[in-house]
C-alpha cells in the first residue's frame, strides 16, 4: 500500500540527505515536493497545509541547519510529525466489564462494513473470544445473506430477523448473545450517506437503544478529499470511537489515513489489507509512518509470524538451519506456516526496502500452490535427500504435480541456492527460521 506516496517521498528524502549543508531554499523546495506528494495522495488540503507549516517551523531552526546531517534531521522531523498526525499511540478496542462487548459498525455504502465485520470476527476468534455477527443491514439486497455466508465460513453465529426494524434487531441480538454466552457482538449496519437525515437518525436510535461500547466508522481507504467531511458528520451524530480503513492493499492512497485522525481526533484502529478474511491488521501510527517513508514494518511482521508459526516447529527448524540440514520436508513445512500468516503480498510489504520495490511486482499466490504440489508429489525419500532426483524422477514429479519438468528444475535450483545462503549465514548470528524463502515473485 501507499507505494506511490512512498516512492515520491523517498526521492525527496534522498536528495535532502545528499546535501552537506541545508539552506532555507533547499528546505522550502523539498517541502514543496512533499506538499505535492501528499496532495496527490488525497491527504486533506487543510491537513497538508498545517503539516507543512509545522514541519517548516521545526526544520528551519538553527539546530537542524547546524547539525552534522541536516537532511537526516528533516526526515526525522517529517517522520515525527506524521506519527503525531496519525494519533501517536496505538488505539485498541474497548472491552466491556460485563460481556457482551457490543461493537457497532457504521459507514457509507461500499466502504466494506460487511467484509470487515467478518474479518473482525475472525480476528477476535484468534484471540479466543466468542463473537457473534448481527445482520442489521435490512436495505441492501442480499446483505443479510452475505453476512450469513461469511459467518458460516468462519463458524461464527449470525443473528438475523430478516427485513424488519434494525433497532429491534440490534436490541434482540444482545439478549440472544447473553443466552448463547457470546462475549462480543459485532453489529453490521446498512451503508448510508452522511447527509441522509433519516438514516443517520436510525443509527442514533440504535446507539441509544443498545449503548455500544465501541462504534467504529468504516471508511474506504481510497476516499478523496471528502473523507474528512463524511467522518466529521458521522462523528458529530454518533461520536464514534474509532476508524477502520479498508482496501488498503491497493496502490497510492493513505490520504484518508493521514487526514481523518487529524480532523476528527478519532484514532484509526484497524486496517483491511486484502481479500482474505485474515487480511486485517491493528493500526499502529508509528509503524504506518515507517511504511509510508519506506522503512518497512518489521514489528508487524514478527507479530504475524508469532501468531501463526508453531514455536516448537520453529525451534526445531532453527536447529536444522544451524546445522545446514535443511531438506525439502522442512521447506514444505515452512511454506505452510508462511501461508498461515496471510497473503504473501501483505507479508512482503512489511519487509524494509521491499515495500516500494513491490510497486509493480505481483506476487502470484499460485506459485506457492505449484511449489507445494511439486513437493507433495515427491516420495519421502526424495524430500529428505533431494540429490537422488534424476531425470526420470523429475519427470514423474512433474506429471504428478501437473507442472512441467522445468518447474521442478527451477524449484530445485532455488532450493539449492537457499541452502547455500543458509550455509553462509550459519557463521553469522542468525535467529528465527522464517523468511528467506525464495517464493515465486514474478
Amino acid at each position: 500500500m501507499l507505494e506511490e506516496l512512498t516512492a515520491k517521498l523517498e526521492s525527496t528524502f534522498k536528495r535532502l540527505r545528499g546535501y552537506g549543508k541545508l539552506t532555507e531554499k533547499n528546505i522550502a523546495d523539498s517541502l514543496k515536493e512533499i506538499r505535492r506528494a501528499l496532495l496527490e495522495a488525497d491527504v486533506n488540503y487543510k491537513v497538508v497545509k498545517d503539516f507543512i507549516a509545522s514541519v517548516q517551523e521545526k526544520a528551519v531552526g538553527e539546530e537542524v541547519l547546524r547539525s552534522v546531517t541536516p537532511g537526516q534531521m528533516v526526515v526525522k522531523i517529517v517522520h515525527d510529525e506524521m506519527v503525531r498526525l496519525l494519533g501517536g499511540t496505538t488505539a485498541t478496542v474497548k472491552t466491556a466489564g460485563i460481556p457482551p462487548t457490543i461493537i457497532m459498525l457504521t459507514g457509507l455504502q461500499g466502504s466494506g462494513k460487511t467484509t470487515f465485520a467478518a474479518k473482525l470476527a475472525k480476528y477476535l476468534q484468534k484471540k479466543n473470544r466468542k463473537p457473534m455477527l448481527v445482520a442489521a443491514d435490512v436495505y441492501r439486497p442480499a446483505a443479510i445473506q452475505q453476512l450469513k455466508i461469511l459467518g458460516r465460513s468462519l463458524n461464527v453465529p449470525v443473528f438475523d430477523e430478516g427485513v424488519t426494524d434494525p433497532v429491534k434487531i440490534a436490541f434482540n441480538s444482545i439478549t440472544a448473545a447473553r443466552q448463547q454466552m457470546i462475549d462480543t457482538v459485532i453489529l453490521d449496519t446498512a451503508g448510508r450517506l452522511h447527509i441522509d437525515e433519516q438514516m443517520m437518525e436510525e443509527l442514533v436510535r440504535i446507539k441509544n437503544r443498545i449503548r455500544p461500547h465501541e462504534i467504529l466508522f468504516v471508511a474506504d481507504g481510497m476516499t478523496g478529499q471528502d473523507a474528512v467531511n463524511t467522518a466529521q458528520q458521522f462523528a458529530k451524530r454518533l461520536d464514534f470511537d474509532g476508524v477502520v480503513l479498508t482496501k488498503m492493499d491497493g496502490d497510492a492512497r493513505g490520504g484518508a489515513a493521514l487526514s481523518i485522525k487529524a480532523i476528527t481526533g478519532k484514532p484509526i484502529k484497524f486496517i483491511g489489507v486484502g481479500e482474505k478474511l485474515d487480511d486485517i491488521e491493528q493500526f499502529h501510527p508509528d509503524r504506518m509512518v515507517s511504511r509510508i517513508l519506506g522503512m518497512g514494518d518489521v514489528v508487524t511482521l514478527v507479530e504475524k509470524a508469532q501468531e501463526s508459526i508453531d514455536r516448537e516447529k520453529a525451534e526445531k527448524l532453527e536447529q536444522k538451519l544451524r546445522k545446514a540440514e535443511f531438506d525439502l520436508e522442512d521447506f514444505l513445512d515452512q511454506l505452510q506456516q508462511i501461508k498461515k500468516m496471510g497473503s504473501l503480498e501483505s507479508i512482503l510489504r512489511l519487509i524494509p526496502g521491499v515495500g516500494s520495490q513491490l510497486k509493480n511486482v505481483q506476487v502470484d499466490e499460485r506459485n506457492l500452490v505449484r511449489v507445494e504440489a511439486i513437493i507433495n508429489s515427491m516420495t519421502k525419500e526424495e524430500r529428505l535427500n533431494p540429490k537422488i532426483l534424476n531425470g526420470s524422477r523429475r519427470k514423474r514429479i512433474a506429471v504428478g504435480s501437473g507442472t512441467r519438468v522445468q518447474d521442478v528444475n527451477q524449484l530445485m535450483r532455488q532450493f539449492e541456492q537457499m541452502k547455500k545462503m543458509m550455509k553462509q549465514m550459519k557463521n553469522k548470528s542468525f535467529r528465527g527460521g522464517f523468511g528467506g524463502a525464495p517464493f515465486g515473485i514474478g
Binding site: 457509507l108 461500499g110 466502504s111 478529499q225 473523507a227 492512497r253
Partner: protein
C-alpha cells in the same frame, strides 16, 4: 434532467463552487491570494493537482490576455475552462443486438446497483434486458443481482457461487441470442486494480465475449465512486489496460461533496463519464451531459 442534476450536485455546488463564486467576489483582482484560494477549492473538490494547476494556469493566462476583471466574467472563463476538460465525442448509435455491456470496477463502488439502474433505463425504452451474474466471488453477490432482476422483471443467468465467471458469461450470451434480448449487462466481481491475477481474469471474460459475439462487448463501463480521490485515475488506467473501458458510471454523486476526479480521468485517459448515479433506487440514474453538468455546478440558488 437539469433539475435532477442540480439537486444531486447540490452538495458539490454548495461546497466547491459556491466557494469559487465567493472567492471571485471577495477578491478584487487576480493575485496570489486569490489563486491560492482557487487552488484550494479545486483540490478539495478532488480535481487533482495536475489538472488544478492546468486550469489555474489557463485561467490566469486568459484573464490577463482578455483583461477580465469583474467576478461575473471570471466566473464565465472558469466555467469555460472546466467545460473544455469535459468535452465528450458524440455517441455512436447502439445498433448491435444483443448489445453487450461489461461492467467492471473496484470493490464497493456500486456496480450491482448501477446495473439495476442501467437495466431499468433500457427497459424504459422498451428494450429486453438480460443480466449475467458473473460476480461469483463475493458472498451473496448473485442473490443481490437476483433480487434486482425480480424487481425489474428481467431475466438473469447465474451459476453457483465460485463458478468460473467466464462460463456464466458464455451461457448468458448464448441465452441472449436465443431469447432475442436487446441488452446483456454483465456484473463482475469487484477487484482492486492492482491485483494482476484478478485483472487477467477480467481479460479472460473479455476474450470469451469477443469470441462469442464478434465486436462485443460493445460497451465496457467502469464504475467509479465519486467519493474516491485521485486513486480513481489509477483505477481507470488499469481497467483500460485490461478490458478497454470506454465509458464511466460515476456513482454516489448524491452524497459526496466532490466528483472532481472525473476531470483528471478525462484529461489523462480521455474516457468520458456517460452515466451518473444519484441515489439508491433504480430510477436514480441520469445520462451525463458535460454542458449541463457544468451549468448545474455553477448554478446559483
Amino acid at each position: 434532467m437539469l433539475g435532477r442534476i442540480k439537486q444531486g450536485l447540490k452538495k458539490t455546488r454548495e461546497s466547491v463552487f459556491s466557494k469559487i463564486s465567493g472567492a471571485l467576489s471577495s477578491h478584487k483582482k487576480i493575485d496570489d491570494d486569490f489563486l491560492e484560494e482557487l487552488e484550494e477549492i479545486l483540490i478539495t473538490g478532488d480535481v487533482g493537482v495536475d489538472t488544478t494547476m492546468e486550469i489555474i494556469e489557463r485561467f490566469r493566462e486568459r484573464a490577463r490576455k482578455e483583461k477580465v476583471e469583474t467576478p461575473e466574467e471570471l466566473n464565465e472563463i472558469l466555467k469555460e475552462e472546466i467545460s473544455k476538460q469535459l468535452i465528450v465525442p458524440p455517441q455512436e448509435p447502439e445498433v448491435n443486438k444483443p448489445f453487450v455491456i461489461l461492467v467492471v470496477g473496484v470493490n464497493g463502488t456500486g456496480k450491482t446497483t448501477s446495473i439495476a439502474k442501467l437495466a431499468y433505463h433500457f427497459q424504459q425504452q422498451g428494450k429486453k434486458v438480460l443480466l449475467a451474474a458473473a460476480d461469483t466471488f463475493r458472498a451473496a453477490a448473485i442473490e443481490q443481482l437476483e433480487i434486482w432482476a425480480q424487481r425489474l422483471g428481467c431475466e438473469i443467468i447465474k451459476h453457483q457461487p465460485n463458478a468460473d465467471p467466464a462460463a456464466v458469461v458464455f451461457d448468458a450470451l448464448t441465452a441472449a441470442k436465443s431469447r432475442n434480448a436487446d441488452y446483456v449487462i454483465i456484473d463482475t466481481a469487484g477487484r482492486l486494480h492492482t491485483k494482476v491475477n484478478l485483472m487477467s481474469e477480467l481479460g479472460k471474460i473479455y476474450r470469451v465475449i469477443e469470441k462469442q459475439i464478434p465486436g462485443a462487448p460493445h460497451e465496457v463501463i467502469l464504475v467509479i465512486d465519486a467519493g474516491n480521490g485521485q486513486n480513481a485515475v489509477n483505477q481507470a488506467r488499469e481497467f483500460v489496460k485490461a478490458v478497454r473501458v470506454n465509458s464511466i458510471f460515476l456513482t454516489k454523486l448524491d452524497g459526496t461533496a466532490k466528483g472532481g476526479v472525473i476531470l483528471s480521468i478525462k484529461r489523462q485517459l480521455g474516457i468520458p463519464v456517460k452515466y451518473i448515479g444519484l441515489g439508491e433506487k433504480m430510477t436514480d440514474i441520469e445520462l451525463f451531459d458535460p454542458k449541463e453538468f457544468v451549468e448545474g455546478l455553477f448554478a446559483r440558488e
